[in-house]
């Protein structure tokens, strides 16, 4: 692809698509029209000058192509429709560069992350429309066959249209629940990139969160942004030369991106000052305490434990209970932590981090832990994490 075009697509496709969907209320038509405009750009940009505003150019051309497509499918007797289409096409000024692209991405993100869509469909549709990833790319990232992903996208778009899922930003009492859905989709995308290391996906999640915060600055959005930035800041120390995962305890903290940590902390403090705490701000605060500590030993575990308590009050899930127990162990009460963890067995059996944490605590309390490590290793798919657990297992044998 022409370099200017590739760049324009990456930077502008979400915005152009959002504007097209706002106008035509049809995801498929908008995607096809944008595709047409891209083909047109690939044909004309290399030989002539690249437009001064590539996004506005793409939008103007895509609008005309969408109208053409509608005209072709309109039946001859739809006179009113044909007349409207003529008006639409005439309304396009020739000087695309003078056109501002309306930013409709906020509406698009709330529509893609509507709770009436299955969460896996929300994730796929967000990556497809707002990030411009192809169905093939999304399929690869989530390890499902291409046909399955295409079908998931088609079905999600059909449901939006058939069920009347609105293209609008939620208002009033609906905001918190709907924002939560959007943020969890962004964090899911981030983690899908972070854990088995697909940096492009994590970067997309960060970009989405930045856009969301720019369009609608809310404390929880800032909290998630800070949380992801803090994860990224520690990223350079996560793997050693053999590609083995390095535990937080053993990480070389000089490798962390300290200027990025400072920036994230500033953003988090600003969010917390608005006094509307939520799970992402709390998780970011926990992460910030880890980032502040000069060493594992000097980490403020007492405060981390208190923050996990606050998080558990808001989202009383077994996973949060597990993390709180781990913090309790580090705060100096491993026996009490082990008792809590054993109580969680029924709820978390088969959840890899549970077995890894249980093995660690058993070892810490001087109890046999070999079998528990074996269980955790069997449940791990990432080779770097398997290597990490094997090393731990060998340490106690």
């Amino acid at each position: 692809m022409h370099a200017a075009l590739a760049h324009a697509f990456k930077a502008e496709s979400g915005r152009v698509l959002a504007a097209l969907i706002a106008q035509f209320r049809d995801f498929d038509l908008a995607e096809e029209a944008l595709q047409d405009a891209m083909i047109e750009a690939a044909r004309t940009w290399p030989s002539s000058r690249t437009p001064s505003s590539p996004g506005a150019w793409l939008l103007a051309v895509a609008r005309r192509r969408a109208v053409d497509r509608l005209r072709k499918t309109a039946r001859a007797n739809d006179e009113a429709l044909l007349q409207n289409l003529s008006l639409l096409a005439e309304g396009q000024p020739e000087d695309e560069a003078a056109q501002e692209i309306p930013d409709e991405r906020l509406r698009l993100i709330f529509t893609c992350c509507h709770p009436a869509l299955a969460q896996e469909a929300q994730v796929a549709l967000t990556l497809r429309t707002l990030c411009g990833l192809s169905a093939q790319e999304i399929a690869r990232a989530f390890l499902v066959p291409h046909a399955t992903m295409s079908q998931r996208l088609t079905r999600a778009k059909a449901k939006i249209s058939h069920a009347g899922i609105p293209y609008k930003v939620p208002e009033g009492q609906n905001i918190p629940a709907r924002l939560e859905a959007v943020l969890s989709v962004i964090y899911l995308i981030f983690n899908a990139g972070y854990a088995p290391r697909n940096p492009a996906l994590s970067a997309e999640a960060l970009r989405l969160c930045t856009v969301l915060h720019h369009l609608q600055p809310l404390p929880e959005t800032a909290g998630l942004w800070a949380l992801m930035d803090l994860h990224m800041a520690r990223d350079p120390a996560r793997l050693d030369a053999d590609n083995t995962l390095v535990s937080l305890k053993a990480q070389d903290r000089t490798l962390w991106d300290h200027p990025a940590i400072t920036r994230a902390k500033t953003r988090l403090l600003h969010a917390l000052a608005q006094n509307r705490p939520g799970p992402y701000q709390i998780q970011a605060a926990i992460s910030a305490l880890h980032c502040e500590a000069k060493s594992w030993e000097t980490t403020d575990w007492t405060q981390i434990l208190a923050l996990y308590g606050a998080l558990y009050k808001r989202s009383p899930t077994p996973v949060v209970a597990l993390n709180r127990a781990v913090a309790k162990a580090h705060a100096g009460a491993p026996e009490a932590a082990l008792a809590t963890i054993l109580d969680l067995e029924a709820a978390l059996k088969g959840y890899q981090p549970f077995h890894a944490a249980k093995a660690e605590l058993l070892a810490q309390c001087g109890q046999p832990a070999q079998n528990e490590y074996a269980r955790a290793i069997a449940l791990t798919s990432a080779p770097e994490e398997q290597a990490f657990l094997r090393r731990k297992q060998q340490e106690i044998s």
Binding site: A116, I165, A177
Partner: protein, 113 residues
Amino acid sequence: MQYMALIYAVPNGEEGYEGDMMADYGQFTQDAIAAGVYVSGEALMPETDASTVRMRGGKAQITDGPFAETKETLGGYYLLECADLDEALSWAARIPSAKYGCVEVRPIMVFDQ
């Protein structure tokens, strides 16, 4: 007395139907109107377009698809005229049974003229 006839069938199963199903439905409706028994009737969009709402702890939980609990059975219905799914779901969430059961919201099918 009024009776609601609930039509259960395999989606898109009309391939095995002998004759013209649409025409037969049209005829049935005409017969029912002529006999004075018809109140209202609609076709629904398939369950892939359904959404389900449950009120738990004062919060509406919205999920994709039809209800799954086999113990829950259809106990009544409202036909609501709303601007979009959000409005329909907010009404559905106010139906008392949503607090212990659930309310499935399915769009009415609109036939091309």
